[in-house]
């Protein structure tokens, strides 16, 4: 447990300069305090405390069913917590109504686990959707921006296809293009590399990294892909039993002596874990 506590403080102090100049790394984009959520009888989140700094890439890891995706959905009000506080860029979002959350959601892009592309639209229409909703009507501008976004995920040749006619990995990349096209300040990634081949996974990781470096995008990535964690993370939070059990840098995660952390990182079962 001492390991956990020390990692907490080390993780907080690591990136003082931040990746995007002086302002980054010192101000929180998300500030989550004592977040609790139960679904039915099951307690999913049991008091999550986590600050995500502007411009950093925070990776949340944890076993399946630990509530990583639930946590991510809470950040932009897609789920309502039982109690706790979520502050996005200084604005408390818990308790806001659907229409009041609009301003916050426009700052944040999200990549859903299965892409969540609109079945009734082509790839290009899906990617153009956030821009069209933002009021961009010029067809030339739309086509250019859609082309650029799809280029980044290497899918510019598949613009006219329907989501049903492309593979799962391609759907995920289209969803990523949709998440980044409006150039949000923050992008939430729910399992961005699951189901992708290693080459594509690496290219997605590079894209996440590039978004952060070039555009100073704050990223929160939920994943179990440890290769990905070590490639992209500035800091790593390990969610266990509904709480942040470990918070630190990838190096601190790798060097951790805590048996639960080691078990997760090394991908082996703990004998006496109930």
């Amino acid at each position: 447990m001492s390991d956990k506590n020390s990692n907490h403080s080390d993780g907080q102090s690591r990136r003082e300069a931040g990746p995007c100049g002086d302002a980054a790394g010192t101000k929180n984009f998300f500030k989550v305090l004592n977040l609790r959520k139960s679904i039915g009888e099951q307690k999913i989140l049991r008091g999550v405390d986590l600050n995500i700094r502007r411009g950093e890439t925070m990776v949340v890891i944890g076993r399946s069913g630990e509530g990583k995706s639930v946590f991510l959905k809470h950040l932009i009000g897609l789920m309502k917590p039982d109690s706790g506080s979520i502050v996005v860029e200084g604005k408390e979002v818990v308790g806001l109504k659907e229409r009041q959350l609009r301003a916050v959601r426009h700052k944040v892009g999200i990549l859903f686990q299965d892409g969540a592309l609109f079945d009734s639209m082509t790839v290009a229409e899906n990617v153009a959707f956030p821009l069209m909703e933002a009021g961009v009507k010029d067809r030339t501008v739309l086509l250019e921006r859609v082309g650029q976004a799809l280029d980044k995920v290497e899918l510019a040749a598949h613009m006219a296809k329907m989501p049903i006619n492309i593979s799962g990995g391609m759907r995920k990349r289209v969803a990523l293009a949709r998440a980044i096209i409006a150039e949000p300040q923050c992008i939430l990634y729910d399992e961005p590399t699951s189901g992708l081949d290693p080459v594509v996974s690496e290219s997605i990781d590079r894209l996440i990294r590039r978004m952060q470096k070039e555009l100073c995008v704050t990223s929160l990535v939920v994943t179990h892909d440890m290769d990905s964690v070590f490639r992209i993370a500035d800091r790593v939070a390990y969610l266990r039993e509904g709480k942040i059990y470990f918070l630190g840098t990838p190096q601190e995660l790798r060097n951790s002596k805590d048996r639960f952390v080691r078990s997760f990182v090394e991908g082996r079962q703990i004998e006496d874990e109930d």
Binding site: L78, R99, R105, F112, A116, F118, E133
Partner: protein, 264 residues
Amino acid sequence: MVRLIEMTGSLVTRFLRYQGEIAQLMLETLKAFFLGKVRWQLVGQQIVAIGFGSQLVVIVTGAFTGAVFAAQSYFKFSEFGMESAVGAVVSISMCRELGPVLTGLMVAGRVGASMAAEIGTMKVTEQIDALRAMGVHPIDYLVIPRTIAIMVSMPLLVAEAIGFGMVASHIIVVYGFKVPGAWYLNHVIEHTALIDISIGMIKGFVFSIVIVMIACHEGLTANNGAVGVGKGTTAAVVVSSLVLLIFNFFLSLILNYMSPLGSS
């Protein structure tokens, strides 16, 4: 005995909760008309899907209902030498009851099921969450266009069903059973007022709200994957059909009180 009370209580609670949810959806939809953004392109697409897409169903339903009703009425009325009254009976029945109710049931089956399945699938595949994440209110994007479209389409579909029913009955009685056409037509015109057609269209309008609210609610509350979407779709058709029939009874009483049959 305790179990019976528990079951009754549970049923009543579920029924009340369902009513509350529908009322809440109606209120949110009403609010969205004023606060939200109406996407007229989507409204147009939905009018095509609901109105134009229901043409075959409505024409066949209206025409064959009018024809069979005229034939049955003729068989009985001819025993008393009242063949000419067939037109009046068919006209009033088609306008006030058969036209709106059968059109409502057909649209509930075709359009209600489609709405519930489409929205339900979007719900279980996180497409609705994706909309919300992009700052688009699902009521604005999914419910409002469908509501406007069905409210415009249904009264017209009812009028169309009535029209085709009348034409079919005329063909059957005049050309099939050789009742003089002028005589038949005169009875139809004499006993049918504008209010009778209006009553059919008013009913169509009310039924449209019933269908769209129940279908959208079933879609928006779908869960448990494909099974949940299937259940929601079935519930949308069954519940909206039953509610439509019950509403029709009360609407008939109210509208007949406001405009009694034969008063015009």
